[in-house]
């Protein structure tokens, strides 16, 4: 055997050893990354949920509603719930806001006498129509779809609104 062949054989063995490690590692990592990235791969279908009766809310009133998110896991417990603020503008018109502040997602509370939404975290304030009144929020409160189904008010479940850098 000449030395050149020996180097070729060494190279070959190194490669086959590395490959022997890499192939099963790559195969096994697919389902592991599947578990890690699962939330990105499984798109959730949003659903309509009944949150109140039309008669339960007066014109001009803003009420806290809570509902169960779309398709929660059995072990989600109370974390399956979300909150929103439902406002009756007129006989027919309802609007709903996500309870998450558009600044960093803290839960805003409605101050009825002052007609303002206020955030406990960094001092964000919104008017009754969800527009920013004061503080750091970069955009209005996110609206959630509402519809009236006979006498029921239904809202469409929605992801936690995430503010992006361009907003």
């Amino acid at each position: 055997m000449n030395p050149e062949n020996k180097i070729d054989r060494r190279k070959f063995l190194v490669r086959i050893t590395l490959l022997a490690g890499a192939i099963p590692a790559a195969i096994v990592s697919v389902p592991i990354f599947g578990a890690l990235l699962g939330p990105l791969l499984q798109r959730q279908r949003q659903v309509w949920r009944k949150v109140a009766n039309v008669s339960e809310i007066n014109i001009g009133e803003t009420k806290l509603i809570s509902y169960v998110n779309a398709d929660p896991l059995p072990w989600a417990g109370v974390t399956a719930k979300s909150a929103a603020w439902l406002r009756r503008e007129s006989e027919e018109k309802f609007i709903a806001f996500s309870a998450n502040c558009s600044h960093l997602g803290c839960p805003v509370r409605w101050e009825d006498k002052a007609q303002l939404f206020m955030c406990p975290c960094h001092g964000g304030v919104y008017y009754k129509d969800g527009t920013v009144a004061a503080g750091p929020p970069p955009k209005p409160l996110t609206q959630i779809e509402v519809r009236i189904n006979k006498n029921d008010i239904e809202i469409k479940t929605a992801p936690v609104p995430i503010t992006t850098i361009t907003e």
Binding site: L36, P39, G77, R109, M118, P120, V125, V160
Partner: protein, 463 residues
Amino acid sequence: MNWLKKTGRWINDRSGFSEMFNPLMNHPVPPGSKWAYVFGSATLFCFILQVATGIGLALLYQPSSDKAFQSLQYITYKATLGSTLRGIHYYGASGMIIMAGVHMLRVYITAAYKYPREMSWISGVVLLILTISMGFTGQLLRWDDNGVWSAVVAAEQMGRIPLIGKPLARLLLGGDTLGGQSLSRFFAYHVFLIPSLIFLFVGFHLWLVMRNGISEPPKAGRLIDPATYRSWYRNMLRQSGIPFWPYAAWRDAIFSSLVIIAIVVAAVVFGPPVLRKLPDPSAIITSPRPDWYLLWIYALFALIPPQIESYVMFLGPLLILFLLFALPFASNAGERSPIKRPWSIVASSFLVIVVISLLAVGNSSNWSPHFKAKLTNNISAPSDDSLAVAGITLFEQKACLYCHKINGDGGNVGPDLTHVANRLNENEMILRIVNGARNMPAYGGSLSRDELTRLVAFLKTRN
């Protein structure tokens, strides 16, 4: 020779333990490496404490979104010494972060990151990031209302990263919203993923200590020259080095022991952080705030101008990481003594002052409305001025009091209005109330003319 010694000899002969450990124990360290050198090992012992108490907690904890809160209540109120165990784990985390911070400052001030120890610095920065990640995920595992809302706030911060922000936020929450996946993920990160990385990097960090030796105490005028340093260091150790065990190790042992005793005492005296409400994202009357070691970031987000905030959230951490990783490359030779590098002391002091100030303002959170503010008897108006008397009630009802202080009652967001009539006349008050200001809502749309008159009548009596 008694049987104990015989057994010991046999085990050592067949296992080679002394061959493995003797070089670690007996490696020489530079003379004069005294109390300034104890913080790294204290960080390590805090980490070991965290692993041990973490295992204890994992025996009792339920890493499931629906059951975690109940299991925490069980640990805190029912389990044998569970409350103390939680306390040690909490104060241990604080201790680890403080010790890591002090260790890092010491290394920076004495320029121990210079040649040939650049990798020690870099792996140390990685360990700092991992430690803070542990602090954050650990706070979430305390799955109460603060835990769930902290997860949402973190997701929002991730959201500001360009292009991949939204997917990252979704990934952190484990879906569109909080739910069954959220806590299991934080648990896996906190208990498996990040600790295994910490073990890996601690191993590397310690290996580097063995390979490059610990830095000698700096002396003004003794410069680091990469061409000659290693041989100079070897000679110095040969001539005047002292064995690590026990001539240097005793200080590490004493200091770490004091740190751990202090942690246990704090846990017994102060107890673990209180469990607040159920982790119910639809129960919105809550004021989320991070544990103290992240409070300075929380404060920063309230204080930076909103226009640049998204950029600060995204570029800020990148810039800090870049500076930290670049440090040993920017200057890896020359002077190490802090006396000849006064800027290192200035920069360190500046950093410490900034972080402590942010912690202080974060703790008082003056930018947040004071939702619990109530009028007390401190505030009154002349009884013959019926408009002003009526204005008092309005001042409370319209949430003015949440942000403005009068006679010591109220919030701190806006100016103190105790003597507002000395500053503003009636028209100016009306203008301000109706139109609002940069940081004040415009009340024009929600106050009736009568209400406005009463409110202003009340404010006019504040002189």
